[in-house]
C-alpha cells in the first residue's frame, strides 16, 4: 500500500484536534492498534501546537501537514513558515522552553521522540520549521484490515 495526502490549515488552536483526527483517519488505513495510533496523535498534537504557539506566536499563518503511508508505517511532515528556531539542539533538550512564562513544559520534542521512531527538525530563523516524523506499526493480520 502506498498513499499520500497534504493538508494546509489555518494556525488556530481549534485546528489542533482537527489535524490530529485527520492524521488518525489516514493512518487508520493501516489498521494500527489503539496504542500505536494514540502515539502518532500525541506527536502530531505537539508539533501542531508548537507551530501555532511558537512558529506563528498565536498570530495568523498556515500550517502544512503531509503524510505518506507505506507498508508498515507512516511518515508525517508538519511545517510552518513562522519565526523558526535558532538553536535546534537546545530546543530539543528535555524541559527546554523559550516560553516559561506560559508554563510550558518544554517536553514537546521529547514526547515526539519517544512516541515516534524518527524525528527530524529542520528550521531556519525567520523562515520556518519543518518536523519530519516516522512511525512504524507492528506487522498485523491483513484480514482485519479496514
Amino acid at each position: 500500500m502506498k498513499n499520500e495526502m497534504r493538508l494546509d490549515f489555518a494556525s488556530l488552536s481549534e485546528n489542533e484536534a482537527f489535524a490530529r483526527v485527520v492524521v488518525a483517519a489516514f493512518a487508520a488505513q493501516l489498521n494500527p492498534t489503539i496504542e500505536e495510533l494514540a502515539d502518532v496523535k500525541t506527536a502530531v498534537s505537539e508539533a501542531v501546537t508548537n507551530a501555532i504557539i511558537h512558529g506563528y506566536e498565536n498570530g495568523p499563518g498556515t500550517i502544512h501537514l503531509s503524510a505518506l503511508l507505506f507498508e508498515d508505517g507512516i511518515k508525517i511532515e508538519i511545517e510552518d513558515d513562522g519565526r523558526g528556531i535558532a538553536d535546534v539542539e537546545q530546543a530539543r533538550m528535555p524541559f527546554y522552553t523559550s516560553k516559561p512564562e506560559l508554563e510550558r513544559s518544554g517536553m514537546g520534542f521529547t514526547v515526539m521522540e519517544n512516541f515516534m521512531d524518527e524525528v527530524e527538525v529542520h528550521s531556519l530563523p525567520g523562515k520556518g520549521t519543518r518536523i519530519v516524523m516516522l512511525r512504524r506499526f507492528e506487522a498485523r493480520d491483513p484480514i482485519v484490515q479496514v
Binding site: 484536534a17 483526527v21 488518525a24 483517519a25 507492528e138 498485523r140
Partner: protein
C-alpha cells in the same frame, strides 16, 4: 514468561477499527439519552461533552459505522 505475556498482549492488542465501532455505539447511546432528555436532536458537541471526548473523535468514530456511503451505489461494485 515475559515473552509469552508479550505475545498475548500483542495478539490481543485492540485494533483501532474495533475501538472506533465501540466509541460509535456509545455515541449513538449518548445521542439517544440526550434526545430523550431534551426532546431534540443533540449536536455533535453535546454528544462529545456527554462522552468526555473531543468532538472530532466522536465524528471520526461515527464514520466507522456510517450507513451506506453512497446511497445509490451498487454494493457490489
Amino acid at each position: 514468561i515475559g515473552e509469552i505475556r508479550r505475545y498475548l498482549r500483542d495478539n490481543n492488542a485492540i485494533r483501532v477499527s474495533r475501538s472506533l465501532r465501540d466509541t460509535a455505539y456509545k455515541a449513538l447511546q449518548a445521542r439517544e439519552k440526550l434526545t430523550n432528555a431534551s426532546g431534540k436532536d443533540p449536536t455533535v458537541a453535546e454528544i462529545a461533552k456527554e462522552m468526555d471526548l473531543p468532538r472530532e473523535d466522536v465524528v471520526f468514530a461515527l464514520d466507522a459505522i456510517a450507513e451506506p456511503v453512497s446511497l445509490f451505489e451498487p454494493i457490489y461494485h
